[in-house]
Symmetry: C2
């Protein structure tokens, strides 16, 4: 039997540094702007929200940022995560391609999110912070920060997008088990939340709204900071442990990938896998195809505009240049709640503009077809978000079959779907259907983008 | 920070043999009897239910049984599983004890069950079998066999205890994702099920009833065999990969356990951890305390009678000598569905009779208190069954604190609780209460034990 092969690194091979793509880009991304002055923001503008160590990482151009000892110690609980060769899936697909996947579902919270949650909780504790607010979509990020908060004795308050809060009560139970507080957003606890509820009492919520609520609480409480689970440079940088380990593991396997695939919501699991490879390419290494997969119902990279926009709905954040559907855009309630964000990480967006990566959008049903096919072959049940990457990798493998090419495909299986079983139940009962966004709402959201002269 | 330490073995250290305790016992357990003749059964009596290779293992007295290559290849997906030192928990408890746990939740189905499911599916496929029936309580076993069936192309039909079927719909969804069929038991698909439903239309079911249904289908269909997830010798033997790995990992850690703890339903995760250590002891090695933890609402080891009894409710199985609450006993619907069995593995029962192990029963609420304390310290959310072992280990650590002893405690964290979040929700909302069995029902069930003259 040509069975699944697992590549395991010794824990001495947990990366000692995070990799910062900023050091190798041919040009820097456009600056972050203060929405009042339209001038580039400085570290002090962010000080109410983040500890200074994270602000420094956000603007750093150093190639390597040392991972603090206590963070590496906690990483040891699940890192290095395994890299698998999906031989059983290859056999089912009858493809000459080699399919590898990095599996981040082995973390206590079940996804890649603890890679940055632990780091962020550490820096907050170092600066004496006792409370952190955040938002969460599907709950992967909220439960990761709840886990990290439990380790460092930090109180965590999570604003969870209401549609996910209702769809995924068990994610909430997980956060509560870790000792965090979880609130459906929009809530009546903030001005931003109350303003939305006044317009629409049963508003399903969105990541943009939940961010507004979490930012508002942090900005108005001295003892409280805010944490974001994706989008920002420092978050993407923390995730590069994924790609660094994958490089070492593929070296063990004697293979070098031709195609890298990841799913994109805010961009962090994708960047975590591909940035170390992209950096090597930018320093003169092998050119690889890099493919970002997003949901067709929230298609920031494939249908959004590359423009300055707010990160949140209530416009409490600075302006960042990114692929955006407009901060007022509310995507339909599909199951991959972690991908329901109107914007894309500025760094990933910049790479797209530089022609360093491709983007592709899939519908919900075809993505679950792929996830079930994967689960039956490989035994691991992927999260709905990860199913996008699975589908992307399968399509690449089928292309290889058609072209008779034995390429090497690597994708990030960023989390398991144990807390998303309602989605699978809906899939099997035929209730899971493709959802489309409202074209006129998108047009209106795009028309409402803030007007910004080039800085 | 004295953080959690993980001990990882290279995949070359996956055991090459299963360990069979029968080889080292001072006396063999009493024979299995044919209920018609009251004579010891022979291999042919079991042939309608199991492939011959498994029947041979069931009666083998060889110390080592070689693990077939294809089974070891599949084990590589998640084995060797990690052994952790729970330093964060030790710190919370302020205990001088060292607490280690073997974590079996890393398997694709989330528990120790695939260790035997893969082996059983392999031997069935080798003998040309295309369909297997089984029963499941909480669904850990059913999903493990569904996973193994998907790998070997075997059709799996699972009779799931109705109370669990209703409490845990997501476990069912997992089995269906793997391609298995899952039926609430008692069902109208078998004579055994119909007889129970005729007595009580809304019967909550029990493992004993579900076993009757699965056995009946296998016994009446030539192309179908039956698989059991615990209790039998060969199943316990397959689980000894757990204890063998733990021995090697503790050697890496430079420690030798004084106390071993596991939860017991049918006995397989417990035996898997402790039998290799017990064997070493029986061959003249160190004497250790071995503690079995069971639910006080289904207390076969602490309140049951050591007697010949049927393994199922409809009396389709042979008679085995074990600690039993009587085959008609229906335990209340507590959350640790995997521990809701009227009997105990004959081999574990025999060890208890020989004074080789202790047993202790806990109530549901205190067990969840322990599980939540563990999750907050260690980040891993245990299954309700595993919470029993957690509570047992914590109590031992607190005893060490009281006695000022720095003993080494090892327990088996046999699965994660991702599919049991309703139990945690009930716990936090105050709905999870201690359940008691009906004393008069127990008395009646014990009075109804078959009368067997010593063979």
């Amino acid at each position: 039997m040509n069975d699944t092969v697992k590549y395991v690194l010794d824990e001495s091979r947990i990366p000692k540094h995070w990799y910062n793509l900023m050091a190798d880009l041919p040009s820097p991304p456009p600056p972050v702007l203060h929405p009042g002055t339209m001038q580039p923001i400085g570290p002090n503008d962010l000080a109410p929200l983040f500890p200074m160590a994270l602000i420094e990482q956000e603007v750093s151009t150093a190639r390597e940022i040392e991972i603090p000892g206590p963070v590496r110690e906690i990483y040891r609980q699940w890192r290095p995560s395994p890299l698998y060769r999906a031989r059983r899936l290859e056999k089912v697909l009858q493809t000459p391609a080699k399919i590898y996947y990095k599996y981040e579902g082995v973390s206590p919270a079940g996804s890649h999110k603890p890679n940055t949650a632990v780091a962020q909780a550490f820096y907050n504790r170092e600066s004496g912070i006792k409370k952190i607010t955040t938002e969460t979509g599907a709950g992967q990020w909220g439960s990761a920060l709840a886990f990290a908060g439990a380790l460092f004795g930090i109180e965590i308050k999570v604003f969870m997008v209401r549609v996910s809060y209702n769809q995924k009560p068990y994610r909430r139970a997980l956060m509560e088990t870790y000792g965090a507080q979880c609130i459906a957003s929009p809530s009546d606890q903030t001005n931003s939340g109350r303003a939305i509820l006044a317009q629409k009492k049963d508003h399903p919520g969105s990541l943009g709204i939940a961010i507004s609520e979490a930012v508002e609480v942090a900005a108005t409480h001295d003892d409280t900071k805010y944490a974001l689970g994706s989008v920002l440079n420092h978050v993407l940088t923390h995730q590069t442990v994924v790609g660094q380990e994958a490089m070492a593991q593929l070296e063990m396997a004697g293979d070098d990938p031709d195609v890298l695939v990841g799913c994109t919501g805010g961009g962090s699991n994708f960047a975590g896998l591909v940035f170390p490879f992209l950096g090597a390419q930018l320093r003169g290494g092998k050119k690889r195809r890099i493919v970002a997969i997003e949901p067709s119902a929230c298609p920031s990279l494939t249908r959004g505009k590359y423009a300055y926009d707010f990160g949140d709905t209530a416009h409490l954040t600075p302006l960042v240049k990114m692929h955006t559907l407009g901060s007022t855009f509310t995507p339909p309630g599909f199951h991959a709640g972690g991908l329901r964000y109107h914007g894309m990480s500025p760094l990933v967006s910049h790479c797209k503009q530089l022609g360093l990566l491709e983007a592709r959008a899939y519908r919900q049903k075809e993505v679950f077809d792929a996830g079930v096919q994967f689960a039956r072959a490989e035994g691991i049940l992927p999260a709905p978000e990860a199913n996008h990457a699975v589908k992307g990798a399968i399509d690449e493998a089928l292309r290889c079959k058609q072209e008779g090419k034995s390429q090497v495909i690597l994708f990030n299986l960023c989390g398991h779907g144990h807390f998303d079983m309602q989605a699978y139940m809906d899939y099997f009962s035929g209730k899971l259907v493709d959802l489309e966004y409202d074209e006129s709402e998108l047009a209106m959201a795009l028309a409402g983008l803030p007007s910004v002269k080039a800085a």
